[in-house]
């Protein structure tokens, strides 16, 4: 032991150095080449939206029973949609691609644009799947360049939640406001009814999807984030909506917060806008009677949530079987099972006709509000969901507006930035 030579130590130092280098980098060879793989063993990458892992396992077991010979492996691909996208990105660089992957309203497009997802239309024709049973607005969200790149899966919309106790104290009818102007008329009474230290309304801040909910206001005043690819932040209606947001913030009617649903459940806010996915949680947490209503306005409710995509570079056999699985877990019967367990929306038109769903809706009027609102939904503007970083960019702008910066200036900045991002990153690929 004692007679280790200097040479021996040099060797050891070399090993240590190599280990140090292992912390650095290595690159693989061409990774985007077509992957073969076994078509009868499918990998399904999911973040289990809405704590749905047990339901997903149940649906997969049913699928395997209906399709003997095909086994499906459910993979924990992250805690949110962004992490699934990150893991999928890793697999695209090198490694084994999944057969079916959860892609959200903001993550699917980049994969479709770079031809990393398969357009599903031909696969569906071959498999004789009729897309017309999917709710149009939800299926239409995945349309790009003449093809659909995902099937709707865990889809949600915002919903207007209100505290019935505060509502009756304010002497208001038991319903949501028909327009944002009507809400403004109600706001003084609501503020008084809510009381000191509480707020008439809470909204998530710009880092927590305010940009998703604000689309409803912008559309309500005739504006929007974009027309196709042209940003329209400076349009009259959009600026008016921004001004409205600033006004109610200044008047102390609305408070911005990372988790408004928590304050609402604690009785600290008269009403909130939040995803239908929060329905179950709020119902469990709140110690008062919760009312739900459509978002203000007609046909102004943005869609959201995630769908199921199939990677482009896998064998045709794998694609065909992956589509079979995607179709199975989103068919009328299974979308009902899935949505009743999670609070998402059934993605099939025929789902609401099933006895199981009819019975459920009769018992849960708040869930019914969400489904009745579906015909009022509208696909989101490109500037938010398709431009890289769109949601975060708009959210930041809205935070500035809420804090009192000049609406026209902030929105003009958003217009310019969005245009730049489009010119630099998207235009040449279209």
């Amino acid at each position: 032991m004692n007679n280790v030579t200097r040479r021996g130590f040099l060797g050891l130092a070399g090993v240590a150095g190599a280990a140090g280098l292992s912390a650095c980098a290595g690159t693989g060879t061409s990774a985007t080449s077509n992957q073969g793989g076994d078509g009868n063993t499918l990998e399904f990458w999911s973040n289990h939206p809405g704590n749905s892992k047990p339901v997903e396992q149940e649906l997969i077991a049913a699928f395997q029973k209906a399709n003997p010979g095909i086994t499906v492996k459910l993979v924990d691909a992250g805690k949110n949609y962004e992490e699934v996208a990150q893991k999928f990105n890793g697999a695209l660089v090198g490694g084994t691609l999944p057969d079916l992957v959860v892609v959200s309203d903001v993550t699917w497009f980049n994969f479709a644009l770079n031809k990393q997802l398969t357009p599903l239309d031909d696969l569906m024709t071959t498999a004789k799947v009729d897309p017309s049973d999917y709710v149009d607005a939800l299926y239409g969200d995945y349309l790009f360049d003449g093809g659909h790149f995902a099937l709707p899966y865990s889809r949600s919309t915002p919903l207007f939640y209100y505290n019935k106790e505060i509502w009756s104290k304010a002497g208001l009818e038991d319903r949501g406001p028909k327009t944002w102007d009507e809400f403004k008329e109600w706001s003084e009474a609501l503020k008084a009814a809510a009381g000191n230290g509480k707020f008439a309304m809470e909204l998530p801040d710009g880092s927590n999807y305010l940009d998703w909910h604000f689309q409803n206001m912008a559309w309500g005043y005739g504006g929007g984030y974009s027309q196709e690819w042209t940003p329209t932040f400076t349009a009259e209606g959009t600026v008016k909506a921004g001004q409205y947001l600033q006004d109610i913030a200044k008047a102390g009617v609305v408070k911005f917060n990372a988790t408004p649903e928590a304050d609402f459940s604690a009785g600290l806010a008269g009403c909130i806008l939040q995803s239908t996915g929060s329905l179950g949680g709020i119902a469990k947490d709140a110690k008062f009677e919760v009312g739900t209503a459509f978002l203000p306005g007609e046909g102004n409710c943005p869609t959201g949530g995630a769908g199921l995509g199939i990677p482009a570079n896998i064998s045709d056999e794998r694609k065909a079987n992956a589509l079979k699985l995607a179709e199975f877990i989103t068919n009328a019967e299974n979308t009902v099972t899935f949505t009743q367990a999670t609070g998402y929306m059934p993605v099939r038109k025929s789902a609401v006709e099933l006895p199981a769903e009819k019975e459920y809706l009769a018992k849960n009027p708040n869930a019914k509000t969400a489904i009745d609102q579906l015909p009022q939904t509208r696909s989101q503007d490109n500037a938010r969901v398709l431009l890289p970083g769109g949601g975060a960019r708009i959210g930041k702008g809205l935070d500035q507006v809420a804090q009192g910066q000049d609406v026209a200036t902030v929105f003009a900045g958003l217009d310019k930035e969005s245009q730049q991002v489009f010119d630099n990153q998207i235009k040449s690929k279209l």
């Binding site: 240590a16 290595g26 090198g94 929060s278 110690k287």
Partner: protein
């Protein structure tokens, strides 16, 4: 005389003031660190309806252990726990060994290219590991190491930080002692084991603690490498308790956090005593 007495009085006044200020500072820091921990623990003992309430509930009423039961049944907690232990033990051991021997070579052995090797190690410290994630992923995936422990452990085992820290510690040791040991005929291993390490005990313990805590909490790489509970560690497993589109039930999340925190806390308490012992034992007359 009078002036001196006056001065002493002022000094004692000042020191009493300083003592009070010191205690106030300590209490503030204690609250700053302690209140969130306290909140985690009591939330883990609350019923769901009592978590979001105003005014805040400072003691769980009624207290329940249902959340702990929930954590251990809703997710395969023990599997994640076992993986965490394996990954942390192997990674920490290899990091500590590699760190110590490479630092020893770089500080006390003379060989050509020593400066260059050290520079390369320091350069590795400058590269944030998020940058190398994608290329490492490609390499490891091609080796077929996804969903294996070596896939998680090997790429993380590099130790620029430990090498740097231990090298500087070794360089700060009095040269006379090293010389004396060499004159007495101690070979390199004996020198390291009997002379250098005993004098560096506190730094080594601190380095080990930092390493263990870091590895225990490692998230990004194990998450990318593992698909399920066969290899995923606790931080990845606990995310399954959070609801990613809707309202999270924080009770079980907090219970999971408490359980994940315990082993590191125990280890810290044990090693802390060692650290102090090392400090006093290291008093060497030069």
């Amino acid at each position: 005389m009078r002036a001196r007495a006056h001065g002493a009085e002022a000094a004692s006044h000042r020191s009493r003031g300083m003592t009070v200020a010191g205690y106030v500072g300590m209490v503030l820091v204690l609250l700053l660190v302690g209140v969130p921990l306290f909140w985690i623990v009591i939330t883990s003992l609350k019923e769901r309806g009592d978590i979001y309430v105003q005014p805040a509930q400072w003691l769980p009423d009624p207290a329940t252990t249902a959340n702990y039961h929930d954590v251990t049944t809703r997710i395969p907690f023990l599997d994640y726990f076992r993986n965490s232990v394996i990954i942390t033990l192997v990674l920490s051991a290899s990091k500590i060994v590699l760190g110590v021997i490479s630092a020893y070579a770089l500080s006390l052995l003379r060989f050509p290219g020593r400066g260059v090797v050290f520079l390369v190690v320091i350069a590795a410290l400058m590269v944030p590991n998020q940058i190398t994630v994608i290329s490492n992923y490609a390499l490891v995936a091609q080796l077929g190491w996804r969903n294996t422990f070596q896939g998680i452990i090997v790429p993380l085992a590099g130790v620029a930080f430990g090498t740097f820290l231990m090298r500087n510690q070794f360089l700060s040791l009095p040269g006379e002692i090293i010389e004396a040991a060499r004159l007495d005929g101690a070979g390199p291993i004996k020198l390291l084991w009997r002379v250098v390490l005993p004098m560096s005990w506190p730094t080594l313990v601190a380095f080990s603690l930092i390493t263990v805590v870091n590895e225990w909490n490692e998230y990004l790489w194990p998450f990318l490498m593992s698909d399920d509970q066969r290899t995923a560690p606790l931080p990845v497993g606990l995310t399954l308790l959070q609801n990613n589109d809707g309202v999270t039930n924080w009770g079980p999340v907090m219970a999971g956090t408490v359980l994940a925190m315990l082993p590191v806390l125990v280890l810290f308490l044990v090693l802390q005593r060692q650290m102090i012992k090392g400090l006093t034992a290291g008093a060497v007359k030069s």
